[in-house]
Symmetry: D2
């Protein structure tokens, strides 16, 4: 089989290196070029020494005329605002694009504008005409559309955790869609590679905090995706992110009011119905303790289902590795689907413990 030639822009951040780690053992891929804004001309293994001998490619400035551009697919592991300016150029040349940021998570310009406002970016999308062609890259909800798309917006890490954790309960009408709370706790790597006072080791090792209370930008994609499952007119969620002193992992505790007569069996059936064929979702029941380390370094989402019979609430707990299923792993899963190869290729690792 001819190898898929991959271009990676934003190769030196956590999202980039996470993808490189997966690609070097992917049987059908060759890395065509690594690109970034900083550390130009350095071997990637000088920045990430664990890659020495595995991948010693030099980092290109993507505007360098010598930079290769004969790719089959390009990943933008870049912040918001980069991919939207360049995607058309690739698409017009028959190169598929997967973008990690929010640039292509909204397929109309108004939704994008609301999102952009919340992160302090310009409300106008740089290339609104291609938005309708973009697909929200969560395979468990949009596998078929992804397979026939050339442009995929990889979901936000919190959004993956929230949507997968609650989708079946909404889809099968088991909960009140008006009152849903997501209490999410994320490891520090979710904030990326750039040092800051809040993530300086001495300030963080014993510190937990909530942040962006009531104001996190992932709220939009979560509400949109959940609403789409049930033709609800509107879903409004409460979402509170926290930072915890681990490197990797998101655990989201989800609270919703059960509709009458819903019990643990109906819940299990709903989740099983939606997820039993999913290669990367594992569902557990009340009483089993799920731990972020159970999904650390893997592309899995673990979900546990609990009912608080005293208050009639569903308490679903959803766990992912924010850098794998929440980012590079999910992006690679999208690539496999878009390139029509077995979806799990290069992703079937359990992670390591401890």
């Amino acid at each position: 089989m001819k190898k898929i030639r991959v271009g990676l822009i934003g190769a030196t951040g956590y999202g980039g290196v996470g993808l490189i780690e997966l690609l070097i053992n992917h049987p059908y891929v060759t890395i065509g070029a690594l690109m970034a804004k900083h550390d130009i001309n350095k071997p990637i293994s000088a920045i990430y020494p664990h890659l020495k001998g595995f991948c010693d490619l030099l980092v290109f400035d993507p505007s360098d005329p010598d930079c290769p551009d004969d790719f089959d697919i390009v990943f933008y592991a870049t912040p918001d605002g980069v991919g939207q300016k360049e995607a058309s150029k690739w698409l017009n040349n028959g190169v598929k694009v997967i973008d990690y940021s929010g640039d292509f998570r909204f397929n109309d310009k108004d939704s994008y504008a609301s999102y952009a406002a919340r992160i302090g970016k310009a409300k106008e999308h740089a290339d609104p005409d291609i938005l309708p062609n973009s697909i929200y890259g969560l395979p468990e909800l949009h596998r078929r559309e992804i397979a026939s798309s050339d442009l995929v917006g990889n979901p936000g890490c919190f959004a993956v955790s929230c949507i997968l954790g609650l989708a079946p309960a909404l889809k099968f009408g088991l909960i009140d869609s008006k009152d849903i709370i997501f209490d999410a706790k994320s490891g520090v790597s979710g904030a990326g590679k750039t040092p800051s006072p809040m993530f300086h080791f001495p300030a963080r090792y014993e510190a937990v905090n909530a942040y962006k209370v009531t104001g996190h930008q992932h709220v939009y994609e979560i509400e949109r995706e959940l609403a789409g499952l049930r033709q609800s007119k509107e879903i409004k969620i409460t979402f509170t992110p926290h930072v915890i002193p681990v490197s990797r992992g998101i655990i989201t505790t989800i609270y919703a009011n059960l509709l009458p007569k819903v019990n643990l069996d109906s819940l299990r059936n709903a989740y099983s119905s939606m997820y039993s064929e999913e290669p990367f979702i594992r569902v557990f029941s009340h009483g089993e303790i799920l731990n972020t380390t159970d999904v650390r370094g893997s592309n899995f989402c673990n979900i546990s289902l609990n009912i608080d019979s005293r208050t009639g609430k569903l308490i679903a707990i959803s766990l992912i590795d924010n850098l794998v299923k929440g980012q590079a792993g999910n992006a690679l899963q999208n690539m496999n689907i878009m390139m029509q190869i077995e979806e799990t290729t290069g992703l079937m690792y359990p992670g390591s413990f401890p």
Copy 2:
């Protein structure tokens, strides 16, 4: 002033050593004896070397006839079931008693029975006759009763965090009392000193998990105390504890539905009205990031108030050090009140950072 002579049973656990650290610099206290079931005849500084030179008292078996018993007050820093068997003996001799466990948090035998069932203990209290004399030792709610009591049940660490974080909103009728969620995250020291597979360093350093989902025993005292604030017939809460890989600290994120016309000002007024004279409570507003390290090593409870205007919810965040305001510090605060000395004596430390 004649020094207060303190007996400490359960001296070798985290709750014991935390109290010793405070007592050695308390100007009006002398430690009469340290007692425990294990490590008998060892100096406490052989178990906790940081105390060497500060406190080198030997650990007594409390049943040893040579063990001193001429105390003014006795602390039971022991698990459930110990203090209830012995409290009467002290009380009958005019010695006051503070118990860290659930033994004296419920002043009638039926409430105790519900609590005991949840932790797998015998439902019968060993000394039900003295229960009516016991006071729930949360000074912010029961300062006056504590001052005139000889028998105080120190609250559970989660309960301190939950109750203090929400009390004013309930007391002043700002929220719907029927739908309250406490999502609590605790450091590992809350589980005590005994090693276990879940708290083994390699298994825990990157691990976060929920546990006792829908089944934690602190629910009872939280519901009872909150109901008492508003003469509500009944309050039923949803409470989910999590363990995070820090040593000290509880952060509880509290969700409740605001009643009509309640805004941030009404909330601030309520909290200020109830807490402005409290020496150990600090209230913050939306947008200020609170961190468990802000209260680490101190007896303070920090609270932030937020409103999610999209969903009409209060999101209150409450932080304590589980071993200080959640345990030894609060116990010492109770002692100061019971002994009629200035309530903050020996407790006015800010902790250290980083």
Copy 3:
């Protein structure tokens, strides 16, 4: 190719699970049975949930008559004293044996006795007759003997780090062999899976200590292997292990006096001469900062060479992942060699960062 059928005894410890993680993606291996003393009849994925779907084999009691025994090779991921009692049984049936403990690191009974005394075990080896057939399983020093052996003693994790870090300097006669200091720092997983007060999260997260100062048992194998490189009559080393609050990783700082005229070039040449063809050793020069995370999760040993010209000393720094190159990875490397397959099969992973 017919798959190699592996039996794993001690499957539920860190050394066991580390091997399972590697074996499930090894193209030429099938796991015949997992065996352990505890957790019998549980699926291994109930003990290590990250393995769910990857390996759900039940744990057998090895004495259970239903336990499979048709293996090509057996791993003893067990403490000292287990493998020596059972190895002959397998060897007599044509099954090869790799033992993680010290049971087969010494091929004469007197050396074994000195070692055993230091760890408080009986000095008599249970099966001294097979000792002469055992090979010390460090491929970089004994590849050829391992290839033709049926019985391999996998080295101690500290020993791997110390021996690989200094071997070329000794082999090529660049240092004074009489005065060598190894200052080693290990992550907590080196102490295994069993909880203990010293490795309880709250007691360990901020704690560093030296232990077994002057008395660690790995000294013997280090001295024996180093002496073998240079036909030295005797080498006596100073070795101080420390525990640091990381999960994985050993960094050993090695001090030795350089012989006259030795400079950085001669050192580099020596290391290059011995290691340039080694698949799992990477050598770095003065000024490059090496980090335990550079080898975390991989089978690599990274070494940096430095000269303190003020004092005429070599300062070599050697890093491994104690659970991979220091244990399961090195054991698998031995298996590949013993089974005459490509030595790096199933081991070429870079680990993940961060």
Copy 4:
């Protein structure tokens, strides 16, 4: 007693906040002003929220004409190069000065030049005339000179650990002074408050590394102080610093060759002779495990003495909290001595565990 009026320059770094934490409970001190280059006009408690209610002083720009300057003593908790430009101004007005940096650790300009070269600073001291009046602020070696000095250079944190750990062995001539190795491991707070890629939480939480191998600047003051103990012509040491993922703590493992007939008793006698009256030094013997947490948050230095009889070496282990005995605590100890008050005032805390 009239309170000592303290000025603190560099109040917003770790060295500043560490001193504030101590000063707020010091019975004879009042803080006259907090000064810094950044965060001007903010309350210090906005930067360090744990101080809220304890110290809410605004931060002054020291060049602000409204900034108070009526101090009895000034602390420079600033980087190298700041204090040397301003000390004379204070001294001429009768204000004593303690500087945390290397600016006043060398009392002649040539020694200073060697030191400055190693940290990449200008070799010329800004005020060489006052250098001869400065005293190296290690009370255990220079208590008398400190008491009569107006200008004290607080020692480097590594230097405190190294010098205190070995001084008696050198002073009493028990070791070969030509071959001494200090293998030091420090927590991350030693690098200060400024974020950097190496100390970003995800990059550091599992990472240990050596750095400045053979090139750390503390070597000079260690050699000078050790030489002064024995009228040695020259002492050359080997010093290797490491960074470990803890916030606070230095553990230094010291290797030296014992002179003939020196045994554990002679060592103990030497350390006891020099240290038995020292309020902040605790000496332990072989076999007792010392842990950085034993001195965490306190001004103590713990030392353990071990002999490797196989190789004839002393292995001394020295532990401090780098931010207390290694910085702010030692500085306050100097202040107490300079102001003729009881040396331990405001410093007698054991720290807290866990």
